[in-house]
Amino acid sequence: MHSGGEMEQETRWGRFRRSEAAQGYLMVGTPALYAILLLGAPLATIILYSFLTDGYLEIIRDFTFANYREAWTNELYRSVMLRSLWVAAAVTAVTVLLAFPVAYFVSFHVAPDRKSLWLFLITIPFWTSYLIRVFLWKVILGFNGVVNSGLMGLGIIDEPLTFILYNVNAVVITLAHAYAPFAILPIFVALEKIDRSLLEAGQDLGESKVMTFWRVTLPLAMPGVIASVLIVFIPTIGDYVTPALVGGPEGRMVANLIQLQYLKLDNYPLGSAIAVSAMSIVTVVSLIFLFLNRRFLRGPK
């Protein structure tokens, strides 16, 4: 028994080397290493930094919760974080509500061979330069912009509207436009998966079209709706460009705050604490929605 141990180990190693698992690790090794070194390690670093103390030109290795206390109790930081959450929620609601009928139309009312053309049409604006699109919204909503000059030219208003640029409204409009295609695709995919005979069965059993939609289509489309909520919510809450360019001082969001702490004030520990807080908020919201999704998949009881 004991004398064969070494041999056995060798064959075990040999077997492992030829096994599926080893080949899989060999394949995934390089991208995994890249992600560990350039994503895993940096994320661990800012989590560590968020518990250290900021000294003059250096970081003091004193473990503390003071950064988090500052990030969560300081009136300024707290109001910016709450605003980010609120703006992201508003953008998500608007985007998903507007997107659902479009996804439904493409899935149910467009001939199958023309669906991918429709999806292509919907995605094109998303792939054009994001900064240019933000720039365009600034131009459209500005004091002398397209909306104001157009409305004044038509004689509808006498003075330029000022509530549409450099505030939260402008941020919501711009972001809702930017993420529209992102919301349509997951809903479309979920609607495509629905077995059409279920809908016929619903109507054969005497349900109206509206009730069939409410009781069959909508619950089955819910995983897609939740996916699009997450796909819109996560990047919007951390968006930097739009609040910086069309938000004005009233529209600043958490990414602007993080940038300020890191690049202008050089306070890495506080910047890290705000970044980690933002990341936690995103994670908590995502988990809530994933939990809701699981409830939906299990079906109503």
Partner: protein, 268 residues
Amino acid sequence: MKGGGFRIYVLAYLVFLYAPILLLPLFAFNDGTVIAFPLSGFTTKWFAAAAEQPSLWLAVKNSLIIAAASAAISTALGIFAARASTRYEFPLKGGVMGLIMLPLVLPEIIVAVSLLVVLLGLGVNLSILTVILGHVLICTPFAIAILTSAFQSLDRSLEEAAYDLGETGLSTFRLIILPLVMPGIISSLLISFTISLDEFIIAFFLAGTQTTLPIYIFSQFRFPQSVPIIMALGTVLVACSIVLLTIAEYLRRRGLARSGAKDTGGFL
């Protein structure tokens, strides 16, 4: 026609999606410095003015280098990861793939600051190279998503037939698998290239004193007189990205047709 009211809503929605982009060429060719109606005449001077800016050309050159390198590296990494996740089972697969795909669900500013802190801590000089490092990180998940669907539509019996006929693992990959997933590889290259070209916040944090095209555009927001030039630049960019996307979509469909799969829609 079915769904009349629907059709009107969807058309209105498409107008909302396209309106800003349709305004671009309108004002790029408009002979006036203020972006407002009514239009005041046709001109191509803004295109000429854009072409005369040396800082713009430098930014374009940097952006092209970064985008080409990021596309090549992230597609190469994506091929390995997609092949691993579609063909092999191994312990911790979910965790490993989850970490690689994490940038998809992480706000970009967090990727940017965490990389910045580590790179500065290691004493690395910020340059185009550090921007490439960051862009590969965010492009790889998209490359994997595209390549996974390419690898999934492969018929495994083709691969086994090649082994039976005496090919090695490597030659099977080169002769059988690679040609079949080639359309996926090309569309992954194009998508990664487009994402990198358009990415602002990571470049803003990691470029140091270098500029990229989005950084250049961002810096021009402060100058009202350069708005028409940005409009001209935007028109050129939109035209380029529509051409690139049309090529990518064409290749994706041809790839699906070749492997006999059903068309299930867009890139994502």
